[in-house]
């Protein structure tokens, strides 16, 4: 019924008609229906015939209705009982036929002959039960409904011969033959080569494996490996598809032996067309603890962002993979940007670094430095000053950045209100001293020193610091006194 839908379709068409018997397909449909064992529908069609009240029609319909159906077997009667019932019924059909009851209408006669399971009639109606396996079933239905699977081959040859002149045996047919002979391995082998899509053979083998049908000592390496091999093959064919690769992943998950390794390799090779896709792949890696692959993907995406000068996005990728090395590199790039342009780009990112700031020293510095700027802009000068000093003291800042930090202290020093205590001022002076000494030494070694502008700035700074110190001491002294 499922595979050969012509009968059903024709039936539906005819049922819509007023006078179905006038259509050329009428008898054809009835034959088809009977051959498929769709007795009820056949009866209905027959009942629509104008001559239905005649004897022969009635007899036929009667016979059809009394045909033993195999479904009754499950209700309690055994196969043997069914067999007996069926033989009785068939004998009755035979009798009716011999009594020439249907000789008037050859079509009716054909139907009865089918019911009797007469060999010759099948060749006559072979167009209605094309291809050979349809005929096989039909024949079995009317000649030996309780036939065992292993005995089917008696019928096969006959059926194939009937069609031999018109069609050739195709590859699908050979597979079916092997299936009918229960030659599992042949089926698997042939399916693999015949079908262009590995879906069928992979699933079939999987099912067979799970219900223990694959005899493991027939295969040297165990049934599991064969199943896995086919699954891997199928999954592989999916992985190269631009959207089905996710399905491939689930298949690989079920391959115990090699699945993980294969998956790692494949995931590596999936083109990272978009951030969304990369995120999808990352999730898959993270779910399976594939840290290597996750890191690699983040690196590739991060590098791409760097090349496109999207430092913020790059940083996000490296933070995600906790890549210390690259995070440091990026933090330095940011700092460099600042010292050159006096501005930060991607402020949002730096502001909301949160705990990931701790990934690398540079990054921490960057975060804290930004905090300093924020505090300053919010007017929290004391806090800003403290932070600035802390940064210098903790040596979180790279030496090259000290100048910038110290220069940043300048506006704080020039405020009328005292920001830095005497202690702090001394600290600042110490830092400045250290810096200038180092640079002076450096200058002797490699000729690099401060630019004129820088020197001026530093002078101003020194001045400011030295002005601040007495101010601080005074204020503190006053407080103490009080």
């Amino acid at each position: 019924k499922l595979h050969f839908i012509t009968a059903g379709r024709l039936f539906d068409d005819l049922m819509k008609e007023e006078q179905p018997e006038s259509k050329t397909t009428y008898w054809d449909t009835i034959f088809r229906l009977v051959l498929q064992g769709q007795i009820e529908k056949a009866c209905r069609l027959l009942s629509l015939h104008s001559a239905r009240q005649t004897d022969d029609f009635q007899t036929l319909i009667n016979l059809l209705k009394r045909m033993p159906q195999l479904s009754n077997v499950y209700k309690g009667s055994s196969v043997a009982e069914f067999d007996m019932k069926w033989r009785h019924w068939r004998d009755e059909c035979q009798r009716n036929y011999e009594e020439q009851k249907f000789s008037i209408n050859p079509n009716l006669e054909t139907v009865v002959r089918i019911l009797c399971g007469e060999d010759a009639v099948f060749s006559e109606v072979k167009d209605c039960c094309d291809p050979w396996y349809h005929m096989l079933i039909s024949k079995a239905l009317y000649q030996d409904p309780t036939v065992k699977a292993c005995d089917l081959h008696y019928y096969i040859q006959g059926c194939q011969d009937a069609y031999r002149s018109t069609t050739r045996l195709g590859e699908l047919d050979s597979i079916l033959l092997s299936a009918l002979e229960s030659d599992v391995y042949q089926v698997i082998k042939d399916s693999r080569t015949v079908f262009s899509n590995g879906w069928f053979v992979a699933h079939l083998t999987d099912l067979l494996h799970h219900c223990g049908q694959l005899d493991s000592h027939r295969l040297q390496f165990g049934s599991d490996l064969q199943r896995e091999f086919l699954l891997l093959e199928y999954a592989g064919s999916l992985m190269s598809h631009h959207s089905l690769w996710i399905v491939g992943v689930s298949y690989l998950d079920h391959c115990a032996e090699f699945g993980r390794k294969y998956l790692e390799l494949y995931l590596d090779h999936i083109p990272l067309d978009s951030e969304k896709k990369a995120n999808k792949i990352l999730k898959i890696c993270e779910d399976r603890n594939m840290t290597e692959q996750a890191k690699s993907i983040c690196k590739v995406m991060g590098m791409r962002c760097i090349r496109n000068k999207r430092l913020g996005a790059a940083l996000t990728w490296f933070l995600r993979s906790k890549d210390v090395g690259f995070a440091t590199v990026l933090a330095e790039k940011y700092l460099l940007e600042y010292s050159e342009s006096g501005e930060f780009t991607n402020l949002d990112l730096i502001d909301y670094l949160g705990p990931s700031m701790l990934l690398s020293n540079r990054l921490t510095f960057l975060g804290k430095y930004r905090e300093f700027h924020k505090l300053y802009s919010e007017g929290e000068y004391h806090a800003a000053g403290d932070l600035l000093l802390a940064l210098l003291q903790a040596r979180l800042a790279p030496k090259q950045f000290w100048i910038t930090l110290l220069i940043d202290a300048l506006p704080l020093l020039e405020k009328t209100e005292l920001i830095f205590s005497s202690q702090q001022t001394r600290e600042l002076m110490k830092c400045l001293e250290e810096l200038t000494t180092e640079y002076k030494l450096g200058k002797k070694r490699d000729g690099l020193g401060f630019t004129e502008a820088r020197k001026d700035q530093l002078d101003v700074l020194k001045l400011a610091l030295s002005r601040n110190l007495p101010k601080a001491i005074l204020q503190e002294g006053t407080v103490n006194l009080l």
Partner: protein
């Protein structure tokens, strides 16, 4: 089923090498016209040339991509005794048809003869590459700073004592670094034409661990299969025939004597195919190392696969151009297409050149 696509390369001379990038979406071709062309696979499935530039002052023999972790980086090697590293710099990103620029980042000039092959090391070894020359030297360079790929330093040189034509890195992470080098020396008495070298961590030296004596004809290409958790290595060799050799590492307790290196591998010739009936020029593996493709002077690309018992056999033949004068022997398996059995996929045939001549 395969679909062959022909792409007009507009190279003015023989194309020596074609290489796909890691994802199979970009391609680079190099030619005797001294230039390299980079092609991008567009959304429409068509390959467009996005860059073309002169790279050397002699025929460019090979071009290869670095792993995308290092950015968009290419390396080329040439008859002019140099190898060069190139990096893409983006102009306006996102505009259709914008040609990108490739900048020469470094030139490796230590060779005294033509450089015949250049290959990047597997990414877990960092950014390294190896070149081999016709005087038998194999040199390994490293770039310590991934953000600045202009600085390459020579780390090792290996004297192979034969005329090198090709090399391949073993990408396995579970084993020490390994390189196979092949030679196209015509002299049959020269011994095995393929040697395998391994890096010894304790001595910090590359030493020869195997000579594949089974191969005595000139070797045009070698390729290690991606490892995938196997305990043995598979090496494909393209010479007069196509050979697949398996190398199984034995124990590590062999001592390197004064005279000879004790063989530490069990070598087995797993397969040998003469189906091309002519010299095999290039071999290339798919992503999982389960399918091997080879191209030969018969103008065909053949695919080989092993069944689950480890027996190799041919599964497919792709005929290139019907015309006999166009024989493609350069190709590399597109890693994003994973051929498996009779599964349908699209394989792009090697780039045809209007004036591609048969080489003898």
């Amino acid at each position: 089923m395969f679909v062959t696509k022909q792409i007009e390369s507009e190279h003015k001379d023989l194309i020596h090498d074609v290489s796909f990038d890691f994802y199979g979406k970009r391609m680079a071709s190099c030619s005797s016209d001294q230039s390299v062309k980079v092609w991008d696979l567009g959304e429409d499935g068509e390959w467009k040339c996005t860059a073309t530039w002169k790279t050397h002052s002699g025929s460019v023999f090979r071009v290869t991509w670095a792993h995308p972790e290092f950015g968009q980086v290419l390396a080329t090697c040439s008859f002019d005794r140099q190898a060069a590293v190139w990096e893409e710099s983006f102009g306006d990103v996102g505009r259709e048809g914008v040609k990108s620029n490739w900048i020469k980042k470094s030139i490796l000039v230590d060779s005294r003869t033509a450089v015949t092959d250049v290959k990047f090391a597997p990414k877990h070894l960092g950014l390294q590459l190896a070149i081999c020359c016709s005087d038998g030297m194999v040199r390994i360079y490293e770039c310590p700073d991934v953000m600045n790929i202009s600085q390459w330093s020579l780390q090792h040189d290996i004297q192979t004592k034969f005329k090198c034509s090709c090399l391949s890195w073993n990408s396995s992470r579970m084993h020490p670094p390994m390189i196979a080098v092949g030679s196209d020396d015509n002299n049959p008495s020269g011994g095995g034409k393929c040697q395998v070298f391994e890096y010894n961590d304790s001595t910090r030296k590359w030493t020869k661990v195997e000579t594949i004596v089974a191969v005595t004809d000139p070797v045009h290409d070698v390729a290690f299969a991606p490892n995938l958790g196997r305990s043995y290595h598979l090496l494909a060799i393209a010479s007069k025939e196509l050979k697949i050799i398996s190398l199984t590492p034995l124990g590590r307790d062999s001592v390197i004597g004064n005279q000879s290196v004790v063989s530490r591998f069990e070598m087995k010739q797993v397969a040998s195919f003469t189906d091309h009936e002519s010299p095999v020029w290039r071999v290339s593996w798919n992503v999982t190392g389960t399918v091997l493709s080879s191209s030969g002077d018969d103008g065909c690309v053949r695919l080989w696969k092993a069944n689950y018992l480890g027996r190799w056999k041919g599964i497919s033949i792709l005929k290139g151009d019907a015309s006999q004068t166009r024989q493609d022997r350069n190709f590399s398996a597109n890693p994003s297409q994973n051929p498996a059995g009779a599964v349908r996929y699209i394989q792009q045939a090697p780039v045809h050149n209007a004036s591609h001549l048969v080489r003898h």
